[in-house]
């Protein structure tokens, strides 16, 4: 018990007022889970552009999809618990939080666009002839969010005086 407390307190003293690394990690996890949920709600359910599963998709692709999905759920909950824990101890950095959220969202969007849609071929963005436009838009959106995340992270670093 005591050992644990000492370790944790020493990690918090390095940043004086907030635990920057954990703030970033918690927010990245929430960002990934948030984007995955948005994808499920908007593109699968509301717009019905994505298919739930292609008929006859290889079982290994479905299992890797299942593992990713399970990881998203667990990391989303873990992220929220981490965030609550940091906030309760007043160690949460908002600037790092926003940066992490955008990095997580953009990272997931890009990963989904390349690995899920193109490598595992679980489903496509939309079932139309000029699919490449949609793929381009999808991945550009991911890159755009990632870019904002990087910019926010740089700003947060300079604000906290981290090089």
């Amino acid at each position: 018990m005591y050992v644990q407390e000492t370790i944790m307190s020493s990690s918090s003293t390095t940043s004086a007022t907030s635990d920057l690394r954990r703030s970033l990690i918690a927010a990245v996890l929430i960002g990934v889970g948030f984007m995955a949920a948005l994808d499920e709600i908007i593109f699968h359910q509301l717009l019905a552009w994505h298919h739930f599963v292609e008929w006859g998709t290889p079982a290994f692709a479905l299992f890797s999809d299942g593992l990713l999905h399970s990881a998203e759920l667990i990391l989303l909950v873990f992220g929220f618990f981490m965030l609550a824990d940091l906030r309760a101890c007043k160690l949460f950095s908002c600037a790092y939080g926003w940066a992490g959220l955008l990095l997580g969202m953009g990272g997931f969007q890009l990963f989904d666009g390349i690995v899920d849609h193109k490598i595992l071929r679980l489903h496509q963005v939309r079932y139309v002839d000029d699919l490449w436009r949609y793929d381009l838009g999808w991945n550009a959106a991911g890159l755009f969010m990632l870019g904002i995340g990087v910019w926010l992270l740089r700003r947060a670093r300079s604000r906290h005086g981290v090089r």
Binding site: E5, S9, S12, F52, W55, G66, L73, K90
Partner: protein, 266 residues
């Protein structure tokens, strides 16, 4: 045992008699729980009896005649019943910590014997998270990917046993991952998290395999199978989300709150 036989009767004999029997057992379980909670008021937080009562209520809904009829004629109805019996009701029951109350209610010698029973090798293997997941999720693979499901529609004994299996394996899995009751030789939280991760993935995969390959075969139209598979996927998601939250509640409670250096030196 009485529960099992009544459930079997509910399918073989007159449905109304059987349903009545199941309802009486559910009410008796709830009464025993609430009476014990009233006796040892300070043992459990007030939301635990609420959770247990909700679990019993979900079983009531799952065994209510309209849902029984729906489940018998429609794969979607079966899936709804399966989600209630095997996932949502066990969450309510197990998070109600009935084991803690049971150990308090019985005489000390009996409580010791019960705990000693949990520590014996065969029981330890049975209640290990890995075997719990195999029984729970593995059982679903066997049910939906083999002709067992079609068989259960015609054989009332198998049908009744299936319901019992759903409830028991669901409770066992929920308890093994995030059960609040004390137990000897509990596996580490890391191992339980790993099992939860793979089991959640396996459940989602089964739903997508059913959708993409049309399982169970020969019992419903393709569109019904696909609708049932989607219910299983999204319903299972909701139940597993609750289980994951319950798990991390334990995980984060185990560590002391991260305190500031000042309060440590004090």
């Amino acid at each position: 045992m009485a529960f099992v036989s009544t459930m079997l009767i509910s399918d073989t004999l007159s449905p109304s008699v059987g349903t009545g029997g199941v309802f009486i057992i559910l009410i008796a379980l709830l009464a025993l729980y609430l009476q014990a909670h009233y006796r040892f008021r300070r043992v459990l937080s007030p939301w635990r009896p609420l959770s247990f009562t909700l679990g019993i209520a979900l079983l009531f809904i799952a065994f209510s005649p309209p849902l029984m009829v729906f489940a018998h004629h429609d794969l979607r109805g079966h899936m709804l019943q399966h989600l209630l019996l095997g996932m949502f009701a066990p969450l309510g029951l197990i998070l109600g910590a009935p084991g803690t109350l049971l150990l308090r209610s019985v005489p000390v010698s009996m409580a010791r014997r019960l705990v000693a029973l949990l520590a014996t090798r065969p029981v330890r293997i049975l209640i290990h998270p890995v075997s719990a997941a195999l029984l729970d999720i593995g059982g679903m693979y066997v049910l939906y990917l083999t002709p067992l499901y079609a068989l259960s529609m015609t054989n009332p004994v198998i049908h009744g046993l299936l319901h019992v299996h759903f409830i028991l394996s669901g409770c066992l899995f929920t308890w093994a991952i995030a059960g609040p009751d004390p137990a000897p030789h509990r596996p580490t939280l890391k191992l339980r998290l790993a099992v939860l991760f793979v089991a959640t993935a396996a459940h989602a995969t089964l739903a997508k395999v059913m959708y993409g390959f049309g399982f169970p075969r020969g019992v419903a139209s393709t569109s019904d199978v696909q609708a049932a598979a989607q219910w299983m996927y999204y319903g299972g998601d909701a139940a597993e989300l609750i289980l994951i939250i319950a798990f991390f509640t334990i995980w984060f409670r185990r560590y002391p709150r991260r305190t500031t250096p000042r309060s440590i030196s004090a």
